[in-house]
Subunit: 232 residues, 2 copies
């Protein structure tokens, strides 16, 4: 069994993260890699959603995942075991990634891919950064991603967009997960959508259950389309 490689990220010394993020975005555009920054609260189902998407990505696009975590490597191992190229990034206690930390992760990912390179596996069309589970800090740092994606799980409640507005302002894409639990929780879709769209009228919203697979195919198709647009 292949063990997940763990990279200890160094804290960025650059002062202008926004500028650095734009440089990284331009580099990725040049390399034809669509980077998606995936953010959410702890336990919203980021890794489970990626596993569910893999069923629809297989054979259609070449993709990989950088799993950021404070101090464990379970997520990268999970993705590797599912056959998805993955590295684990440790932030050493930090609550977010900035563009320079993301760049360190991308280099590690590229060397991981190069090591197992053959004609099928060389290069990536789509690269996910699974950010630290946190609705506050990651929203404040541009990582250089082409798209910001956030997950809100039904059990967290419909009031999260009102309470953590910046996350919903910076995201391009909102995935409402665990809709299989809608019957158990009091979750007002209309209220939630109203709160989101007031702050971000362009937000694209998907409803899925990563557990049962409901809605995942539609989300996967959208992400493949966005990847192709970016890499065109």
């Amino acid at each position: 069994m292949e063990l997940a490689k763990v990279i200890e990220l160094k804290e960025s010394i650059l002062e202008n993260n926004d500028q650095d993020a734009q440089v990284l975005r331009d580099e990725l555009k040049e390399k034809k890699i669509c980077l998606i920054n995936l953010m959410s609260s702890p336990g919203s189902g980021k890794t489970t959603t990626l596993l569910a998407l893999n069923e629809y990505f297989k054979g259609k696009i070449r993709w990989g995942v950088m799993e950021a975590d404070i101090d464990s490597s379970v997520d990268a191992q999970t993705m590797l075991d599912a056959g998805v190229p993955s590295v684990q990034l440790h932030t050493g206690g930090m609550c977010h990634l900035d563009a320079d930390m993301t760049r360190q992760g991308i280099r590690a990912m590229e060397s991981h891919i190069a090591e197992k390179s053959d004609s099928e596996k060389s290069g990536l069309d789509l690269l996910f950064l699974e950010n630290i589970g946190n609705l506050v800090c990651p929203a404040e740092f541009d990582t250089g991603a082409a798209l910001n994606m956030t997950i809100l799980s039904v059990p967290e409640g419909d009031d999260k967009p009102a309470k953590y507005p910046l996350m919903y302002e910076v995201a391009d894409l909102l995935v409402v997960n665990k809709i299989d639990a809608l019957a158990v929780f009091d979750f007002d879709k209309e209220r939630m959508e109203r709160d989101v769209l007031t702050r971000n009228p362009d937000m694209k919203i998907f409803y899925i259950s990563a557990l049962t697979g409901e809605g995942v195919e539609e989300l996967a198709s959208y992400l493949i389309e966005k990847t192709k647009e970016w890499n065109a």
Copy 2:
């Protein structure tokens, strides 16, 4: 209807938060106020748990809540509407509170209490600080509290103690909430307890459903007992 007072917190300029927190803790001990710092992910049920506890606190102890939030005042209003003295603290985007910010909140709370003071309501035995919903940053700052309490809700998953270890190291008390949803989610209590107790052998663990009320009386009794011990 009484509207919740909103206090915009100023960022602390003190360099030694640990020292400042100890000063605040000593002041609160002197004043006979037991401060509990309540932390969790967004949507774990901090406010709902406080509402459920209120049913058992009523008539037994004098208590109040400081509701910290990035930018809304729904929680303080909810507590006020339930008859619990409460103020809303805005962190202006910050992901945590330190001791100095907590002190600003306590002053606001004291002036709120003084305004409506009569023989029944003067003074507080127990004061909750509902921290920003975040498993990372609040764990890094001592607020001067007598007790750190954290909530883990069942839908978040049993792997949170492994992924956010510091939170479970600094907490004295872990409340596992939404146990009414145990049938819907794959949550391994033994794994979770093992991961918690490895890091923190003294952790006191309660299982509750703030929604159905299960387990809440036992938790309330424990908190009343701790409050009396602190204020003795």
